[in-house]
Amino acid sequence: MAALTARRGPVASTSTKSSAPLHVENHFQPHYPYRLNFYDTPPQFDVTLEQFESWGLDRLRILAEIESSFVRNRAFEELKGIVNTQQKKYLTLNSNTAINADKDAERKKDHVSHFVLRLAFCRSEDLRRRFIKAEMALFKVRWETDDPKEREEFLKARAFGWGDVSDAEKAELEPHLKACLNPKQLQYFPQEKYYKVPWSRVPDLVHGRRVYLRAGAAYVPSREQSSIVFQQFQADLEEAMEMTARALPRMDEDRLTPILDHLSKGFLAGVASEYSAPESGESVTADMIDGLAKKHFPLCMRALHEHLRKESHLRHQGRLQYGLFLKIVGLSIEEALAFWRKAFSGKMSDEKFTKEHLYNIKHNYGLVGKMANYPARSCQTILTTYPPGANEFHGCPYRHYSEDNLKTALQSMMGISSHDMQDVLSSVRTQHYHVACTRVYELTHGIRKGEGLGGGETVNHPNEYCQRSRELEKSKNAAAADDAMKID
C-alpha cells in the first residue's frame, strides 16, 4: 500500500523529512491534520454500506446546490454563503481551533463522501466535467473560509513543485515583475515572495497577462498562490477521474452498483437525488392527492390538479408534467393507475382509458418501451421546454399565465392577499419566476421573507417544494405533539 500512496520516486524519499507529516495508518479512526483535503489518497478503512450511501447523498446535496447556483448565475460571494449554510447542515468541517468538535470524524466523512461521488460520477464525460466543476467551487469556498495559518501549513505539507525565486533573480527581473503589477500592488513588491512554476500550471494568470513569463516558467507572486493550488486541484482531479473511469468496469461489487446508479441519476436530473425516488416508507395513495394538493403542491401542480378535477381531463404535456411529479411524490404505479382512471372517469369509459392511457402511465414509470426511469420535470425544464398552447394548463404559471390570470390563480388557489400580491408580481415582472414561487411558499407557510425553503434556498424543483412543505408540517406536528406531551 505504501508504494501506492507514495507519489513518484524522488518524493517518496523525502517523506521522512520533518516537513511532511508522518501518516499513521489507523484503520478505524484515521487522523486528518488539516481541514482542507486534496484527496490524494483514497480512504483505506472500512465504512458501512449505510455510511457509504448517506454520506454520498449529503455531499451530493451540496454539489447540487452549487450546480443550481451556476445555472442561476449567482455571484461567488452569494454561492459562498449558500454553500456554507448547506455545509453546516450536511457536512460540517470545523477548523483546528474548534475544540469541542470531532474534527477527525467530520473530515473522514468529507474524505469518504468525495470518493463515493468520484465512483458515481466517473462514468461519462459530462458527469465528470460537472462533478469537477462543482468540487472545484466547493474547494474554493473552503479555501477562502479556511484559517490563513492552517492553510499555509496545509500547503507546506504537500509538494506543489514550485521553485523559489532567489533574491538575486528577483532583483534581476525587477522591472519585468513590476510591470505585471498594478499600482496598488507595487508598494508591496519589496516584501513579495516569488515562485517559479511551469506556465501551464497557472493558465488563468497567463491568460490575463498577470505574471511574467520566461522560457516557459511563470513568476508568480505569493499573493497569487491560490491560482496554482486551484489549477493543481482541478488537474489532479481530472486525471484521477479518468483513471477511476477506466478502472470502474473491474470493480466487482454488486452491493455498491445500485447505490452509485442512484446517486449519479440524481445529479443527471439536475437536482439532488432525493427527488428521483420517493421518500422511503412513505407511499402516497390515490385518495390522498386532493388533500396533499391543497397543502403542499406548488402553483403549477395545483393548477393542473384543479383543472383535472374540473374537466376530468388533461392534455398530453399536462399528464406528463403532473404524472411524473406525482410519481416522485410517492404514488406507486398501482395507485397512479387508480388515480388517473378515476380522474378521467367523468368523461371517459374504462375501456377507452385502458386503450389510450394505460400504456403512457406505465411508460412514465419505466415499465414499458424504453424502460427509462424518467425524472420529474425540474423548474428549468418546465420554464424552458414545451410552452403550453391553447387549452393546455401545464408549464409554470408565473411565466406562462397572463398577469390577470396569475392574480386570480394566486388568490383562489393559494390564498395570497392583495397586499402580498405585489411582492410576488414584481418578481414575475423582472422574470424571476423562481423567486416568485419561493415567495409564495414563504407566504403560504408563514415563513419569514428570505428564508425560502430553508437556509435561503430557492425553489428549483416542484418536488422540492412539495417535500419541504411536507417536512415542515411534520416537524410542526412533532413539535405540537411534544408540547401536548409536556402538558400531560
Partner: protein, 443 residues
Amino acid sequence: MAANDVAMATEQQADPKSPEVMSAFYSRLYPFKSLYTWLSHTPVPISTKDAGVPKSSTNWTHREFAFTLQNDAYLRYNSFQEVDDLKKQIMRLIPSRFEIGAVYNARPKDKKTLPASALQPLRRELVFDIDMTDYDAIRTCCTGGAICRRCWAFISAAVSVLDTTLRRDFGYQLLLWVYSGRRGIHCWVSDESAMVLTDDQRRAIMGWLEVVKGGKDMVKKVNVRVAGGLPPSLQSSLDILNENHFMPIVLEDQDCFGSRQGWETLLELLPDREVVSNLRKKWEDEDEDDYSSKEQSISERRWNDLRREVKAVAKGSTRRAALMAAMEDIVLQYTYPRIDAEVTKHRNHLLKAPFCIHPSTGRVCVPVDPKMVKDFVPEDVPTVGQLLGELDALGTKTEDPSTLNWEHTSLKPYVDMMDEHNRRILQAERERKQAENRKDMSW
C-alpha cells in the same frame, strides 16, 4: 533552363482541380515519409513486415486525418496504421486537400463503434493560423483572397513577433512555419510540453498573445495596458515592430494614413482633443500637389506631424503620456499579429497539412524559414503544374522515370527544411526518453 521552359508550358494545362494532376502529385511528389516523422515523432520504420519493428506510435495511429474530396465532400475521423495506408487511401480518394487533427485516446476511425463521446482528443501540436483577410481593414494594396509581395510584409512582421514570443516567453523550440498556399501562414509547435496542453491552457496562450481585438465597429482595437504600461512581453514585441516593421510597411509601402479615410482613423485613435484638431486643420488644408514631389510618403510625413504635436505637449504631463501610449497602441494595431484564435484554442480543430496544394492557386503549402520570412515571395512558391512539368522534362532523359520524385524538383529545398526540422524533433524525443529513463532508474 530547358526544364523550366517545359514547366512553364505544362503549367497552363495543370489544373489543380483535375484528379489526374492531383493523383500524379500525390503518387510522385508528396513527401509522405517526412509527414510521418513530423507527426509521429519517430523515424519511418524500414519495413513494417520485419518482425521486431516497433509499432507505429499512437501519435500516428490515433491521429485524425480529414479529406476534402474533389466534390467538396468532407470526410472526418480517418486514421491509419502505417504511413503507406494513408498514401493508399489518398491515392484512392484523390482529395483536393487533407487536414490534420488531434491524437485521440482511441483510433478515430473506430468512432462509430465506440460509445458516444468516448473518443477524446489527447495530444495535438499547438497551432496558429494567420490569415491576410484579417488585415483587410488596414492593407491598401489588396483585399479578400488576393495577396501580393506588399501585403506579405504584414505576415512577415507577424511571424517575427510570434516566433520570438513563443520561444522567449513559452520556451518552445520546435516551430514549423508553413505557407498556407494563398494568403496566410500556419505555425505548428511540436514540443512535448506543447503537445500535451489542454484546451484551457491553449486558451490561456491565446489570452497572452491576443492584442488586436474587436470588430469593424470598434476603432481602437488595442486595449492591453495595466495602469498605463505595457506588459513586458508586449513591450518586447513593440520594440521589434518599431525597429523593423512599422515604418517600412505602414508608413512607406502601404501608406495607411495617405487617404482621407486613413488619416481620419488615425485621428480617432488619439485621445487628445487639441492635438486632433491641430492635425485635422493641417491635413484638411493640405494640397494634393504637395505630396507628389516629396521623397517622403504622405503617411510618413503625417506620422512626423503627429510626433511634433506630441513633443509640443509638456514633458511628464499625463497628456503627453497618454499620447505616447496611444502612438504605441497604433503601432500594435497596425502591425501586431492578428491570429485566428479559434484554431489555436481547441485540440480537435483541423488544419491543412503541409505540402498540400491550394486548390485555387495550385501552389504547394511549403515550410517557411522564420528567419528568412522577409524575403519569402509567395509568387515564387512552386505550383503543382510546374513541379509535374519538371518531372516530365527529366523523364525524357531518364531510363526509369518512375524513380523520380520530389528530390529531383524544386520542391527539394522545402522538403529538406522539413526533414531538418524532423531531425530536431527526433533529437528532442531522444533526450526526453533518456531523461525519463534516468528518472526511472533513480526510482
